[in-house]
Assembly symmetry: C2
Homo-oligomer: 390 residues x 2
């Protein structure tokens, strides 16, 4: 069985089929998740930077100190729902508290924007999820937060005496000028609040903040990281990097799964920019290429359209020099010294046969690099998003 957040010592999960999404058949999929910590746990969080924040984000942002867990639902984002939304998010948190007999809860929601939560169903769902605590394992908690996701996303890492495990959801509205989508991660290492927040911020920067599906930023994005301390391993400045490496590996795997499950995606695109004169240059060029609909549709069509890649790279205005730039698709060199020369057939075949297409730009201006992940843009992206509500 694949491991996720439920396999972290000190964590118990319960889910319920509450039927929150109007059109859902309740039996289809769980849509309510309660994550409980044995003892009150330190936590760190990264939230969307959108001006329009969903009610659960506003409510969770108010929390400090320790928490006893997370309550989350899919099928309804509780976003743009005014004062009633805030009241509903607060009720979700306090209901989870009361029914578990524990302390305060973080709260998160994902799904359709702008419809009030069907609180009758949410209340019943939370009660059922609490009653089922301990039964949800492996993929089950990840399933409860899926919306247009096709597969559940989870990752787990054993390190030196401690583990990190997490789940995530996200397929559309994925963009990384912020914490992206929902992800709940826990560790049984004992991490002081300050180090926990620092590790989360640093790890998010190179994982969730380095992926894009469609450039849209959600109102509901948050990443929660809980430290149960159950392993007894204490994280200090000395072994901080050990913890950060393990956390980054887990978030990397979750981020990869999100891109792989990008709405309508048939391929992952890994955009690697090397030889940049600054980290900012590397990042901004990689981001522009990863965001380009023309690059993304070309990959869908197995078209080694290197010109679109160069045009997108140049549009960052980051000072790339055409004559210095080398462009590779996989191991094939397409463009160097200001001109292109390669076998269209060979590169197109490479694209056809690859689940992950690697687009690598060497700017030959310095020694910095950055990697961005995205996916191709397909008919299904349009279908999914044109039909989402109607």
């Amino acid at each position: 069985m694949a491991k996720g957040i439920a396999e972290v010592p000190g964590i118990t999960c319960g889910v319920a089929r509450a039927g929150i999404k109007k059109t859902a058949k309740p039996q289809e999929r769980p849509d309510l998740l309660v994550v409980v910590t044995e003892e009150p746990a330190e936590f760190a969080a990264v939230y969307t930077t959108n001006d329009v924040k969903a009610a659960p984000v506003k409510v969770s942002m108010e929390l400090s100190g320790k928490v006893s867990g997370i309550v989350a639902n899919s099928g309804n984002a509780n976003a743009c729902t005014g004062e009633r939304g805030i009241k509903d998010a607060l009720e979700m948190a306090s209901l989870a508290s009361q029914l578990t007999g524990k302390g305060r809860f973080l709260v998160a929601s994902t799904g359709v924007i702008g419809e009030p939560l069907p609180m009758d169903r949410v209340r019943t769902g939370i009660a059922q999820a609490v009653a089922n605590l301990g039964k949800a394992q492996g993929e089950e908690p990840a399933r409860a937060i899926m919306t247009t996701d096709i597969f559940p996303k989870l990752a787990f890492k054993e390190s030196s005496g401690f583990v990190v495990g997490g789940i995530a959801k996200g397929a559309g509205m994925i963009d990384p000028a912020m914490a992206t989508m929902l992800s709940f991660v826990a560790t049984d290492a004992k991490v002081p609040k300050e180090l926990l927040q620092r590790a989360l911020k640093e790890a998010v920067e190179v994982t969730f903040n380095a992926i894009t599906v469609d450039g849209d930023m959600s109102t509901n994005d948050c990443v929660f990281l809980l430290s149960t301390g159950k392993s007894g391993v204490e994280i200090t400045e000395e072994n901080y990097s050990l913890f950060k490496v393990a956390l980054t590996e887990v978030l990397e795997k979750l981020a990869y799964q999100i891109v792989k499950d990008g709405e309508g995606a048939t391929k992952v695109i890994r955009v690697v920019v090397e030889g940049a004169e600054s980290p900012q240059q590397a990042r901004s060029v990689a981001r522009k290429v990863a965001l380009s609909p023309l690059v993304k549709t070309a990959v869908f069509g197995n078209d080694p359209n290197w010109g679109r890649v160069l045009a997108a790279a140049g549009s960052a205005g980051a000072g790339i020099v055409e004559e210095q730039t080398e462009l590779y698709f996989g191991s094939y060199l397409l463009f160097k010294g200001g001109r292109a020369e390669f076998s269209e057939e060979a590169v197109s075949n490479y694209m056809k046969e690859s689940q992950e297409v690697v687009i690598r730009l060497n700017l030959n201006l310095g020694s910095f690099s950055f990697t961005y992940l995205t996916c191709d843009l397909t008919y299904d992206y349009v279908r999914i998003n044109a039909e989402y509500r109607t």
Copy 2:
């Protein structure tokens, strides 16, 4: 007959079917355009800000003083073509000069990136276009610069004693952090160079720089404005605004046609942001909404998905306040005071029946406004761009 650049006194146009695009049947459509001024003319220009600039852009940017016209081709962008590309662009310009017996020419290309120009065909084409000078009228010059465009784009305006007429091309790779796509405009007013450049810059800012199809920035974009002076009307600081208004109206019409012809588009989307506390805020919010693939697919699906609009508006990070913001689709109020209330059916019908969907946000924070034009995102956008070369 619709009027364009050929109807401006002092301007003559010739086109040819040169068969520049590899897969083109030469008889299909003209692909070579020569625009000639009776006397050397003042000109103004705005170019792409992409780091990767096509050879014709680099060559045209070197010109100062007066010019005798424009030579342009479609079917091949002459971009990312190294030194040979520069040589070819220079040859196009000098060939047009020689064959017309005139002064220097601006040069522009549009089409596939990264393939060398088939110069044999280009040379023959320029000779034919020069031989045909005067025959290309109305839509004909605009047809010669089309690529994935479905219809030719032209506009004409009579003002006080002078006229402004122009053509444009552009359907994909349209993004406005710069001069967008190709547009050639002429006036028979006599405009000093400094005023000509100022008017062009100011008019581009609210027209071509306020549209987006896919957020991609081209290597080839340029707008050329020629002043033949043929009307004898002199433009000075006193009547400058007269000229600017006429020019802006022509560019506005061309910009609208580009969006209407957006790759795969079925509808124009007009994003109006009002009540902003600064012009920058209005612009950045409007731009984010216009760029959002989720908003664009929702419009394609006739889905009044106001939540996506608010999420996109908020993602600008420009300081909008959810509770203050009002959102309208056409004349329908969808969201106000932090909550949504409207007839889904009525608004969806409005969307279905409209060729142009107006999305209007009143931020209620100040008195500035900005309007952005875009189009919906459809299956055909993906089809056109996945199949473009292969």
